[in-house]
């Protein structure tokens, strides 16, 4: 039986016509790739323009909102303060995300497979998720000290719940006919889980990962607000306390870039690991 792509190729004209079609497809690919970069840059330029316009029109004080150029100047003049501290926050975010995701996957799997565990833990997970985690930040320092541990812990606390939710939801939404098919082929519970349930749940799990990643960054920064000597959160707090709003905004800009980079890293991993999703969805 022909695959869809083979059938499409069979319909295309042979010879020069096919080459023209192939060239046209490549140009569309380049245009799509270009728009993925150019359009966000255009959006950024529009945003910066509106920011500058608001400063001029409303005469907003520097301490409340700096000029974009002042922020760029800080980015240029304080590489050590921003980029080295950015590396610290990056490490805390990635470590927190990894631990939080692993915890969320395990807990979500347990909840999906056991009604007892689900009923015992789920309401308390929801209650815990409603607690403003920033209130726990000073306690984490008291319990864990001044190193990166309390920041990583805060990142874990913020990011594991979306992964639990997504994993549970994904594992409990496997179509019945697929599970029955596996059962009819004498698959064990483990085989059913690894070959049917978990792969089917992966798109949902990655939704959880994509929600969790920015939350891990936020958690790391909240932890840095509470204590420590390094990290973009420290820069934001110190600069704000000194009224150096351009520097605080510059740190926020680096944080935003980091958040974008990490989010699209997760998107990239999803693209690599789940090729069948692209092929079977529109």
């Amino acid at each position: 039986m022909q695959t869809e792509s083979a059938a499409r190729r069979a319909e295309e004209p042979a010879g020069p016509g096919r080459r023209r079609a192939a060239g046209s497809a490549r140009r569309r690919g380049w245009a799509a790739a270009g728009s993925m970069v150019l359009l966000p840059l255009l959006g950024l330029a529009v945003g910066i323009g509106l920011w500058w316009g608001a400063k001029e029109v409303f005469d907003i004080q520097r301490i409340s909102l700096p000029y974009p150029l002042e922020v760029l100047t800080e980015l240029r003049d304080r590489p050590r303060a921003l980029w080295e501290n950015g590396r610290v926050t990056l490490w805390e975010s990635v470590a927190g995300f990894a631990l939080g995701s692993a915890t969320g996957l395990v807990l979500g799997t347990a909840i999906a497979h056991s009604r007892i565990i689900s009923q015992m833990t789920y309401p308390w997970l929801v209650a815990f998720n409603a607690i403003p985690k920033i209130a726990l930040a000073p306690l984490l320092v008291i319990w864990m000290g001044f190193g990166t541990q309390p920041k990583i812990a805060m990142a874990v606390l913020l990011c594991f719940f979306p992964v639990v939710l997504a994993t549970t939801s994904g594992l409990t939404s496997t179509p019945t006919e697929l599970v029955e098919l596996a059962r009819s082929l004498d698959a064990s519970r483990w085989q059913t889980f690894t070959k049917v349930r978990f792969p089917y749940a992966l798109p949902q799990v990655f939704v959880g990962f994509k929600l969790a990643m920015p939350l891990a960054v936020i958690g790391a920064v909240i932890g840095e607000f509470s204590a420590g000597q390094e990290g973009l959160g420290i820069i934001i707090k110190q600069a704000g306390g000194l009224g150096n709003t351009p520097l605080a905004f510059a740190a926020l800009a680096v944080l935003s870039l980091m958040g974008i980079g990490l989010y699209y890293a997760v998107v990239g991993v999803e693209w690599l690991l789940l090729p069948w999703v692209r092929a079977t969805t529109s």
């Binding site: 004080q61 520097r62 301490i63 409340s64 304080r78 050590r80 303060a81 501290n85 000073p138 320092v141 008291i142 319990w143 000290g145 001044f146 509470s226 204590a227 420590g228 000597q229 420290i234 820069i235 707090k237 110190q238 600069a239 704000g240 306390g241 000194l242 009224g243 150096n244 709003t245 520097l247």
Partner: protein, 338 residues
């Protein structure tokens, strides 16, 4: 049979020599070699402003090293959090407002901590406003809005200040705000005044792009109040008073050097803290000199009588119940009398 006595004699001599050399080695270790430095975590009062520079000055000038102490300086987040970290053992020393420490001890909110020195002989708390608001005396606060953090010592002592200054407290709108937000609230005109330290004037003037600031000090009416103090755990004070004294003395050497050399101290701070503003930091230290030094009183000294008077003031305002003594707040053994 004749070999046995010789063998035993040889063995006895060898054992004696071994024991003697071990004892000698131990003695020579105590007398000749330095013991490993003590590792200490010290927490500043709040952040890394110029007023905190003395700790980094003590570090840079080698005062801690001379006292065989290896210090890790951590930015603090206020009296409550700071002394909680000392009480929990995560830090050995921290800076806290002495009145704030007295309040917390009186309310039995914390135990296991004690004060071993005064950073500021006079309280720095007060109200800061920009000149354009026209607040130049306490009575000018009536009808105005004042922002301060909820748990601050200034907020807790506000009723007493209002009574002593002859202000109707109901006529002043009190706004709660986090300490880092206060400069922006004032500079943007959202509030008319903020609770601040006297040393915060240069920072506010810089944030307000050169506008002049006025400061109304609590010490005008409450002169017995101390400012910041050096806090340690009672466990460390009892088990290793030598370490406490060495650290206290090294830190206060840094404090004296800083107020005598504010520009250099600010530059030292900037080498350790990326975000430090040298000009503002130096100005803070210049202001701090008159609060840190008092004629006839060594830097860091504490007068037990003033502590008792502070306790009496807090009891009179019902901020704490009766019964607290000065020994509950300061270590009379480890503080320098002033």
């Amino acid at each position: 049979m004749r070999r046995h006595p010789r063998f035993l004699t040889s063995l006895a001599v060898a054992v004696t020599l071994l024991v003697a050399s071990a004892c000698t080695g131990e003695d020579s270790n105590n007398g000749g070699e330095e013991s490993a430095p003590d590792d200490v975590v010290y927490i500043t009062a709040f952040g890394t402003f110029g007023r905190e520079a003395y700790a980094w000055v003590a570090l840079e000038k080698g005062y801690f090293e001379e006292s065989n102490i290896n210090v890790e300086i951590q930015p603090g987040t206020g009296t409550g959090d700071n002394i909680a970290l000392v009480a929990s053992g995560q830090a050995q020393f921290a800076v806290g407002d002495l009145t704030g420490v007295t309040l917390l001890r009186g309310q039995e909110a914390v135990e296991g901590i004690t004060v071993v020195g005064a950073i500021h002989q006079t309280a720095l708390i007060g109200f800061l406003s920009l000149a354009e608001t026209g607040i130049s005396s306490p009575q000018d606060l009536e009808g105005k809005s004042v922002a301060d953090s909820t748990g601050s010592v200034g907020r807790l002592l506000w009723p007493t200040y209002a009574e002593l200054a002859g202000i109707n407290p109901e006529s002043v709108e009190l706004v709660d705000a986090a300490p880092p937000d206060l400069p922006q609230l004032l500079a943007s005109g959202t509030v008319d005044a903020i609770g601040q330290f006297a040393v915060g004037v240069p920072l506010i003037e810089a944030a307000a792009q050169g506008q002049e600031a006025n400061f109304l000090a609590y010490s005008e009416f409450m002169s017995d109040l101390y400012g910041n103090s050096l806090v340690t755990s009672t466990e460390l004070a009892q088990n290793d008073p030598d370490l406490v004294e060495r650290f206290r003395d090294a830190l206060f050497r840094g404090l004296e050097y800083s107020i005598d050399n504010p520009q250099e101290a600010a530059e030292i701070l900037a080498t350790y803290v990326d975000t430090a503003n040298v000009e503002v930091a130096a100005a803070e230290l210049e202001i701090m000199e008159s609060y840190t030094r008092q004629a006839g009183t060594p830097v860091g000294a504490i007068d037990e009588v003033r502590i008792s008077q502070t306790i009496a003031l807090l009891e009179a305002t019902s901020a704490i119940p009766a019964g607290l003594t000065s020994e509950d707040v300061i270590s009379t053994r480890l503080t320098v009398s002033g």
